[in-house]
């Protein structure tokens, strides 16, 4: 599986994503600078966590207007896989590659802790290596992860099996405790928890590995 990690000036999980991809695929991903107007030929694009352009405006709002995002949209339109983690999820909703919005956490505080998630749907490249209903533990680290969409959208997401991960409790006020959603073509995943931080035993968990293994099996 060939992959690329998009690097905005204040991305800060770009290295984490790179290391996880290297560990899982054995190949070094392309690191693509935000001003690049061309994407290399890859199977997977990762939008990493961080603060893209400082996010003093709505998180991800400026990043959605960047040169490289035009390329990411084109990649997604062609059916290419995109994984947006944390700030990457925010960029994806701001870019309308995913529906809804991520608002300030209901508790008004940044929250960093491991959270238990239910794998709600295994019919996707991202979750096929998990069991339906399996509990996994990923860390979250965000101030604006409170997922919002209108009821009609939420019902559609649920009905179409596009809610892949759900918090097992209230973490940030998200509608229906949604932690990660899929695009209608099932090739774009946005999620607030960090699978790339749980691929290494020493760091206290490996629940994120199966997500990358699913992608590798599907895309290689």
């Amino acid at each position: 599986m060939k992959s690329a990690v998009i690097v905005f000036p204040a991305s800060n999980c770009d290295r984490d994503a790179k290391v996880a991809l290297e560990q899982m695929t054995g190949q070094t991903p392309h690191m693509v600078w935000h001003q690049d107007s061309e994407l290399p030929d890859v199977d997977l694009v990762v939008l990493p966590g961080g603060f893209s352009y400082g996010d003093y405006l709505r998180c991800g709002a400026m990043a959605s207007q960047s040169k490289v995002m035009r390329e990411v949209k084109a990649h997604a339109d062609k059916g290419g896989a995109v994984l947006g983690i944390c700030n990457g999820f925010q960029v994806l909703t701001e870019s309308h590659l995913l529906p809804g919005a991520l608002m300030r956490n209901a508790g008004l505080k940044f929250v960093c802790k491991p959270v238990a998630l239910t794998v709600e749907e295994t019919q996707s490249a991202f979750t096929r290596k998990y069991d339906q209903g399996q509990t996994v533990t990923f860390p979250v680290a965000h101030g604006e992860g409170n997922y919002f969409a209108d009821d009609e959208t939420l019902n559609r997401l649920e009905g179409e099996g596009r809610v892949l991960f759900r918090y097992q409790g209230d973490v940030n006020g998200s509608a229906r405790n949604i932690a990660g959603i899929l695009s209608d073509k099932r090739n774009v995943l946005g999620m607030m928890p960090h699978p790339e931080r749980v691929v290494d035993d020493v760091l206290g968990g490996t629940d994120g590995r199966a997500l990358f293994q699913g992608l590798i099996e599907t895309l290689s």
Binding site: A10, D16, G50, D55, F110, E196
Partner: protein, 734 residues
């Protein structure tokens, strides 16, 4: 030229004697710009004039020390060509006035100190002191400081991995915010601040200069009064996005060989960075302020030289390398300007709009700065054994202590810090020390911040020793070899002889412990004048310690891990209740002598424990500190809900045994066969050791009689902080 009146001199925080010295050094009356430069460079904050003579006594050398005090941060050798670079610094005064920005810029400033030396920051720590919980400002200050630290560190993508927090009424009007940054560099890529050579371009990079923070260093060198909040305009505003760009751009430039010297613009901004670089390089510096990127119109030379706008750096490049450097800063969309040149005159010359605004010998700002041997009045340390009510039930007291403000879980704080970004955090907050892996290796750094201020007022010397010893012990307890410390000395007004004594004795105590434990001081910061309306803080010499672990898979943590492990205490328990948490929280008194640290035993016990962990024989270890032995046991039981049954036959007095704060002790837990060997080895080495009982179940049981559920202990431990911050709890006055 403005006439310098006695009032102007006073407004600059300079004494009459100091002004006479300026007249001597200059041979004429200084200009306003020159006076401003003197005032910040001679401020306590920049010149260390009250402490310098005493700081010289600290041990600063060891074979593994690459750079001791005097640079932006200290550097140690951690093997394989790697270096750890670290420092701790205070941002106390600004954080009291404007907690969010004060704390945020404190974090930004200490990160710049570390990355200006070529290191990528890999971990942040902090040491925070607030007033008593019932004080009307405390909640507001806690909330602002914590979100400020998180707001800056989280955006930078550097994990904030731990720290310590105390509440005490002596900090009601003067909180302490000490931030520590640890970075990693290659030993052949360390950058210093000596601007050697003449004719080299002086470049300015980062944010534009505004009028913010003018005279911040002078503010940090004065006591507070009721009008202090009017000083809000001297607090700087942080921009972590720009700092992130500056970090990446600087590291990119540092990968070339274009830099001769580089220094961040922290306190006293352009003034201190240019003066210090010239001073260390033995050169002169000529600045043309017209070239300085400016955020506001019509700034004067005085304002530009004293501005403390954040996220700026000054560098001296090799001639001809400007374009290459500029391209890097343009890529990161940062300002870049050649604003001056190095000279061979050893003078700082400042030009603005065709006028020479300052022309002064650089040594006047450094070597010739005043050094004071301030008088001090020794006082005998408090001594004596406090009385206590022997009838109080032990487990009820344990519950009270675990939910006391100084003892309860700090989860409410550290869950607001991204502590796992960079994917190398091996031990998260809540243990004895944070552990962060050296990226791409099996090695790891252990990091801790420590001081017990309630020991430092009754006995400043033992308190200084204890701060170092506890730091060394915390690193040992995770299995690391302690290597070096940075100190952050927070005290009151040094012009008061009784305070000066606290400073002198504290430094002596730190020095004694660092020497005995082979644990040198490689950098630090002094914050004096921590007083409001004449009330001094408890002496608070915070120690930031760093240790090295060769194999991170052998790290120990505090959590009991298995049923049936034998619980062992290493070190002697004599039942020292003076100045203890027990006495304060249960008896309501702060009395008696501080516990004494026997540095020889400290080393012997610690080395014994560390060897066990390094050999992979022990994975469960906790040092015994605040609250004593029973509190340590509860802290080991709570993480995984594994209880223990403990007791000692024939105890004369239960309370001092379980709650005394004798130093140099560790609790370890190991399976039976291993435990028997450990006890035998300890006895053979003449180390005091005792078996306390066995792990198992979900209750903590004493002497096979009384017990309490671990879940109940944990509920109290975890709930105090969130309840306090949400206003649901009636604050407890300590």
């Amino acid at each position: 030229m403005t006439q310098i009146t006695p009032q102007i001199v006073k407004d600059h925080g300079l004494s009459n004697d100091e002004y006479r010295r300026i007249l001597d050094l200059m041979g004429r009356e200084p200009s306003m710009v020159e006076l401003g430069i003197f005032s910040v460079m001679w401020s306590e904050h920049c010149s260390y004039k009250s402490t310098r003579a005493h700081l010289k006594k600290l041990p600063t050398k060891a074979p593994w020390v690459i750079q001791g005090p005097g640079e932006n941060a200290g550097v140690i050798d951690i093997g394989d060509g790697d270096a750890a670079i670290f420092k701790m610094e205070s941002h106390n005064h600004p954080s009291f006035i404007e907690p969010y920005q004060g704390a945020a810029t404190g974090v930004g400033g200490i990160m710049r100190d570390v990355f200006t030396m070529g290191a990528r920051p890999i971990a942040m720590m902090n040491a925070l002191r607030f007033g008593e919980p019932s004080h009307p400002k405390t909640r507001h200050l806690v909330s602002g400081v914590v979100s400020g630290i998180g707001g800056y560190g989280n955006c930078m993508g550097v994990p904030t991995v731990g720290g310590e927090v105390n509440f005490h009424r002596s900090y009601n009007g003067n909180i302490l915010v000490n931030a520590m940054c640890v970075g990693l560099a290659r030993q052949d890529k360390i950058f210093l601040s000596a601007a050697k050579g003449a004719g080299n371009p002086v470049v300015y990079v980062g944010s534009k200069t505004g009028r913010d923070g003018i005279h911040g260093a002078t503010m940090a060198s004065a006591e507070f009064d009721d009008a202090s909040e009017e000083k809000r305009p001297t607090v700087q505003v942080g921009d972590p996005f720009t700092e992130k760009l500056l970090l990446e751009a600087c590291l990119e430039l540092m990968a070339t060989d274009a830099i001769i010297a580089i220094q961040d613009m922290g306190a006293a901004g352009l003034t201190s960075s240019s003066a210090e670089m010239g001073d260390k390089g033995g050169s002169g510096i000529e600045l043309d302020l017209d070239k300085v990127p400016q955020r506001e119109a019509n700034m004067t030379a005085y304002e530009m030289m004293l501005s403390e706008s954040q996220e700026r750096m000054l560098a001296v490049l090799k001639p001809g390398r400007e374009a290459e450097a500029e391209a890097i800063f343009k890529k990161w969309e940062l300002d870049f300007a050649v604003i001056g040149i190095t000279t061979d005159t050893q003078r700082l010359v400042v030009k603005h709009k065709g006028t020479v605004e300052a022309d002064m010998p650089i040594t006047a700002l450094s070597d010739a700065a005043p050094v004071y041997e301030r008088p001090y009045t020794e006082r005998a340390p408090l001594a004596g054994k406090p009385s206590f009510d022997a009838g109080k039930p032990v487990l009820t007291s344990l519950k009270t202590i675990l939910s006391a403000p100084d003892m309860a879980s700090r989860r409410w704080i550290w869950e607001q810090y991204d502590h796992t970004v960079m994917s190398d955090t091996v031990q998260v907050p809540g243990g004895d020390a944070a552990v962060v892996r050296v990226h791409g290796t099996r090695k790891a750094l252990a990091i801790t911040t420590d001081v017990t201020p309630r020991y430092c007022r009754p006995d400043p010397f033992e308190g200084g020793k204890q701060a170092v010893a506890e730091s060394w012990r915390n690193l040992t307890a995770v299995g690391a070899t302690p290597l070096a410390v940075t100190d952050n000395l927070n005290y009151g007004n040094p012009q008061k002889p009784e305070i000066m004594w606290e400073i002198v004795a504290g430094i002596d105590g730190i020095g004694a412990a660092c020497r005995a434990l082979d644990y040198p001081v490689i950098g630090g910061n002094c914050s004096l004048y921590n007083e409001t309306n004449g009330e001094g803080i408890l002496p608070t010499p915070a120690i930031g310690g760093v240790g090295l672990m060769q194999d991170v898979s052998r790290m120990a943590t505090i959590a009991f891990k298995r049923d049936g492990d034998v619980v062992i205490v290493i070190g002697e328990t004599r039942g020292h209740l003076g100045q203890s948490i027990y006495l304060r929280e249960i008896e309501g008194r702060e009395e008696g002598g501080a516990p004494k640290v026997d540095l020889g035993l400290e080393k012997k016990n610690g080395d014994f424990v560390r060897k066990l962990i390094e050999a992979g024989r022990v994975d469960t270890c906790h040092d015994v500190s605040d609250g004593g032995l029973l509190v340590a046991l509860a802290e080991m039981a709570m993480p995984r809900g594994i209880g223990a049954s403990v007791g000692v036959a024939g105890l004369p007095q239960a309370i001092p045994f379980w709650f005394g704060e004798d130093q140099g002790r560790y609790v370890i837990a190991a399976p039976f066969a291993e435990a028997e060997k450990i006890v035998a080895e300890a006895r053979a080495a003449f180390i005091t050791v005792a078996e306390l009982g066995k792990t198992g179940g979900d209750r903590l049981t004493l002497d096979d009689k009384d017990s309490v559920s671990v879940a109940e202990l944990k509920a109290g431990f975890e709930s105090w902080f969130p309840n306090f911050m949400s206003g649901e709890d009636i604050p407890v006055t300590n």
